[in-house]
């Protein structure tokens, strides 16, 4: 590469990578704000450990076809899952899927639905904070 080409290449790469890192930074801050909202509501610190237990436990208090989050989401947060209708669900772990949990409306919709399906009730703010903190840590 001659010097001009090299300069153009570096400039392009900087712009592109800069764009990517800016979008990850803004996704991270959007997610952190959502988690913080639930922590505030709960009035106590979130626990990734409790979030893991919530995600992986066989709860069985909701609808019979969905006893656990892992029924559809795959055995661990890092794995892909599958809906009962055969559609692939991308992993829940933020490391695997950086677009997770950055839209409060979407997060609220799925908590409402899936907590009712698995636990037979809405999740508490503390459970939501724990769950998201765990997914963020994975």
């Amino acid at each position: 590469m001659n010097n001009l080409n090299k300069t153009i290449f570096i400039a392009t790469a900087t712009i592109l990578l800069g764009g990517v890192s800016i979008s990850i930074v803004s996704a991270n801050s959007a997610r952190d704000a959502i988690i913080e909202g639930f922590v505030d509501e709960a009035g106590m610190e979130a626990s990734a450990e409790r979030g893991k237990i919530l995600f992986e436990s066989n709860i069985g208090d909701g609808k019979p076809d969905t006893p656990s989050c892992t029924t559809c989401h795959g055995a661990t947060a890092l794995k892909t899952g599958m809906t009962r209708a055969g559609k692939v669900i991308e992993p829940m772990a933020v490391s695997k899927n950086p677009e997770r949990f950055i839209d409060l409306k979407k997060v609220s919709k799925w908590f409402r639905r899936n907590c009712k399906s698995v636990l037979g009730r809405e999740c508490t703010p503390q459970e939501k904070a724990d769950f998201l903190t765990y997914m963020k840590s994975k």
């Binding site: 609808k63 076809d65 969905t66 009962r84 209708a85 055969g86 559609k87 639905r113 009712k116």
Partner: protein, 156 residues
């Protein structure tokens, strides 16, 4: 009107291209609503509304909090928009009478496409145990019909 055979041919070709549903045997208008594709398609293929009568869609949309064993509830505004699209494109929405109305009696409100007489006749026990295990569910049309998303089931 036609000055030469070429323009006649081109017009015929255009006519054929723009009216696929008339000629294909098992072709349906693909879902054209972004909100239907996004919301219904989050868990399963967004089925073409031509596959159930209006009364079926109405009942499905009234029972979203227990949607075949899961909570699929929606906010009121989203629900209304989806209902409008389903009603407008349901099997019995046009004057021609959709294929999926065949054999559906007035007192029948099928809640699953796979329980309609047309679906049953078309599949006629041809789904093997292996094919069903791979698809995981009869609701997974694309497992066997790769162009099902586009409303094209003309592959068998």
């Amino acid at each position: 009107m036609f000055h030469n055979t070429n323009s006649l041919k081109m017009s015929l070709a255009l006519l054929l291209l723009t009216t696929p549903a008339t000629f294909g045997d098992e072709r349906y208008d693909p879902v054209r609503s972004e909100i239907v594709l996004k919301e219904c398609g989050a868990c399963h293929m967004a089925f073409q509304p031509q596959m159930l009568p209006k009364r079926s869609w109405d009942r499905i949309m009234q029972e979203l909090s227990d949607h075949f064993g899961e909570d699929a509830s929606l906010d009121a505004d989203t629900k209304e928009q989806i209902e409008a699209y389903l009603d407008k494109n349901a099997a019995d929405s046009g004057w021609w009478g959709g294929k999926f109305m065949r054999g559906v009696k007035d007192n029948m409100t099928p809640l699953r496409i796979t329980q309609t007489p047309h679906w049953i006749r078309e599949h006629d026990d041809e789904i093997s145990a292996q094919a069903l295990a791979a698809a995981k569910s009869r609701a997974n049309c694309v497992a066997c019909h790769p162009r099902a998303n586009r409303g094209d089931y003309d592959d068998d």
